[in-house]
Amino acid sequence: MYKPEEHNVICTVCPIGCRLTVIREEHEPDGYKVIGGVCKRGEKFGVKEVTDPTRTVTSTVAIEGGLLPRLPVRTEKDIPKHLNYELMKLISSVKLQAPVKIGEVVVANVFDTGVNVIATRSMRAVK
């Protein structure tokens, strides 16, 4: 029996958290039909979550000479979800030296996504 491609997705755009079903449908403009949602934003989210799920990743890197041994960082924008662990590996070897300014690029253009990893706080140098 033919069964169309179908995905269950929980919408995270707003707190209602609609349970969406995203069904492959050639004739739809973006190739998918979304049911179970309450609004347009949810439909857009559903398709994106199925075709190109992305996330902002936040973590820390090592820093020397500052108040703390770790400096918090983030991806400036979303990166493809499957790169989460790759990114963690990538930044595990980073070691910065205080001072650092908020927004400073820690690693540029990770995995050629065009997205930078940036510092999310400033840290002064301390003796």
Partner: protein, 424 residues
């Protein structure tokens, strides 16, 4: 004895916003007293994003959000003292604090804003049976170790409580290479945001067990395992539903309570439901001239509302110092009605309102398609249909101030009407 117009106790987001707003509203001498080595409060360890959507219309991490306010504080030249622990706040608005640099400090303030934040509930608060080994952490303590000190607290982890901090830590630990085995939640619904359930649990294939609790902790020296079991409608574990996990770590995310030692010491009346001070429209406590805002009043899930509330507290504190606050005005009591756990503020003097009265509240259950209604002595002054309300998400309503000034009611009653309660 040092003299200040406005003294801010605590330099987290609440204290920072209150200090800035007090200055902007004309208070000349303002000082922030912070016991930590830096400003920013709990935000410095909340390195995840999800802060600032309301205030800045963008998604920031905790430290980024904090730094914006710290920068503004510096620009305004507001005085702050670090490593300064306030030991005593008195009803006569004297403060006693200590610091390694300044020793014993005594201050006479004209107004005080309390912004000490909250603390986490512990294992004892929920009396989990079993051994008491190392490896049981509150989620916030674990967050500090991992995010600020750079140490892992475990390799195989079970989390009790599905509040946002627990969910955020599930993802954080998983990303750092730990195996997060399960999240157990005693209530039939999650205490955290849907978004966190998706991005912190689903993304990492971490199961969430609703209506489950921990029934045993094993391991004499270090945690060796835990047992979770399903609970009945009285939240008692049911035999035969146990699941055993081999793990070395148990994280607890079982709720926060306002830090109320100083409030209590000052003789401030507390609300037994929120655990924080009873406040009026000015965020003033039962002691005249002592204000409070942020998590020390009631636990917030969004820092943006902490900022909103604290700006008001700071502005009103400045007005108090300038004798611009109407003190002996008519007082409206605002109360929680059906479906509502608590409301803040508890008292309203309409004369002091600008154009709107913001009422913060939490509902008691998950509601779908219900109405949130505010009645002034029976007359509806606000009503809005809500698709979704949950205890984990604070609700805010804005009531027209003019209406209250006209009606001068004795009571404001906030309730949930109609709709269905949802059991997930």
């Amino acid at each position: 004895m040092q003299q200040y117009e406005v003294v801010i106790v605590g330099g987290g987001p609440a204290g920072l916003a209150a200090a800035i707003e007090a200055r902007k509203n004309g208070a000349q001498s303002v000082v922030v007293l912070e016991r930590d080595r830096e400003l920013g409060g709990i935000l410095q360890q909340c390195i995840h994003h999800g802060f600032g959507l309301v205030v800045f219309n963008e998604e920031l991490t905790g430290p980024e959000y904090a730094e914006r306010f710290i920068d503004e504080l510096m620009k305004l030249g507001i005085e702050y003292r670090l490593e300064t622990m306030v030991l005593e706040v008195n009803a006569d608005k004297t403060i006693r604090a200590i610091s390694p640099n300044d020793g014993m400090i005594e201050i006479q303030a004209k107004a005080i804003v309390l912004n000490m934040g909250c603390r986490e509930r512990t294992r004892g608060a929920i009396a989990i049976p079993g051994f008491r080994p190392a490896g049981v952490f509150s989620a916030g303590t674990a967050q500090r170790f991992v995010n600020m000190e750079g140490y892992m607290v475990g390799k195989r982890v079970v989390i009790l409580g599905s509040g946002d901090i627990g969910l955020i830590m599930a993802r954080r630990m998983a990303l750092e290479g730990a195996k997060v085995l399960a999240v157990a939640e005693i209530m039939p619904y999650s205490g955290g945001l849907t978004r966190n359930i998706v991005q912190c649990l689903h993304d990492y294939d971490i199961p969430l067990y609703l209506s489950h609790t921990i029934t045993e902790v094993r391991g004499k020296e270090r945690v060796e395992g835990v047992t979770i079991a399903e609970v009945d409608e009285n939240r008692k574990p049911m035999t035969g539903t146990e699941k055993h996990y081999d793990c070395d770590t148990l994280l607890l995310s079982v709720g926060l309570i306002p830090e109320n030692e100083l409030s209590r010491g000052a003789g401030i009346q507390l609300d037994p439901v929120t655990g924080g001070p009873i406040v009026n429209e000015a965020m003033e406590t039962s002691v005249s001239g002592i204000f409070a805002s942020g998590n020390v009043v009631h636990v917030h899930d969004l820092v943006d509302w902490v900022t909103e509330e604290s700006r008001r507290a700071g502005a009103y504190a400045a007005r108090y110092v300038q004798n611009k606050l109407v003190e002996d005005a008519s007082v409206i009591a605002s109360r929680p009605g059906d479906g509502i756990g608590y409301v803040v503020p508890h008292k309203v003097r309409p004369e002091n309102l600008n154009d709107k009265l913001a009422i913060f509240m939490r509902v008691k259950e998950v509601f779908h398609d219900a109405k949130l209604v505010v009645k002034a002595d029976g007359e509806v002054v606000y009503s809005r249909k809500k698709r979704h309300m949950a205890p984990g998400e604070m609700e805010i309503v804005q009531v027209d101030a003019q209406k209250l000034k006209d009606l001068k009611p004795a009571e404001l009653l906030v309730s949930v009407e109609g709709g269905e309660t949802v059991h997930v």
